[in-house]
Amino acid sequence: GAGVSQSPRYKVAKRGQDVALRCDPISGHVSLFWYQQALGQGPEFLTYFQNEAQLDKSGLPSDRFFAERPEGSVSTLKIQRTQQEDSAVYLCASSLVRWGSQETQYFGPGTRLLVL
């Protein structure tokens, strides 16, 4: 089926605004991940869901960042009171879960966030 999709592809926000970034994982993929990629850097882990359960949020940089996946499919990453340092590409990835196996993560195209 279709790959991971993300929307919007580009978002410009004024400092202090709230933003919401959406991720549609590959159908049937149980695990969903969010990563932040600063310009010229490798992606850095933010948070991880298995179905609707958020199992790891250790990478969220502050309490302004919040992620949810209420029905175990689509996920939203919300950033409140955006700051300039939040400017980055936000990548979503999904994977199957199989017992005893680490499955490959498949990435979406990302959302480029620019905070002015």
Binding site: S31, G42, F45, Y48, L55, Q102, F107, G110
Partner: protein, 113 residues
Amino acid sequence: AQTVTQSQPEMSVQEAETVTLSCTYDTSESDYYLFWYKQPPSRQMILVIRQEAYKQQNATENRFSVNFQKAAKSFSLKISDSQLGDAAMYFCACLQGAQKLVFGQGTRLTINP
């Protein structure tokens, strides 16, 4: 803490030639997985190849192969018969039980026609 290091910020190669991208990693786990991802300018991260740490045989996918040296914690990517479409950022990444990928800083590969 898990770390991944790519010491080559940029590499270039002539079309049809072979190039090797370097990666070293550090992990305390015995069971882990290693990946090379390609990110063209459009930003879509694409899996190139993966290696399970418990397998001694080096992974191969068509023109792409790895040299996995577990004791040295080295995981290099060899691209044979380079093509213009291979131009991209290449990221080495390590995955262990926590499910999160840890990425290196990336290597920008340029293919010269």
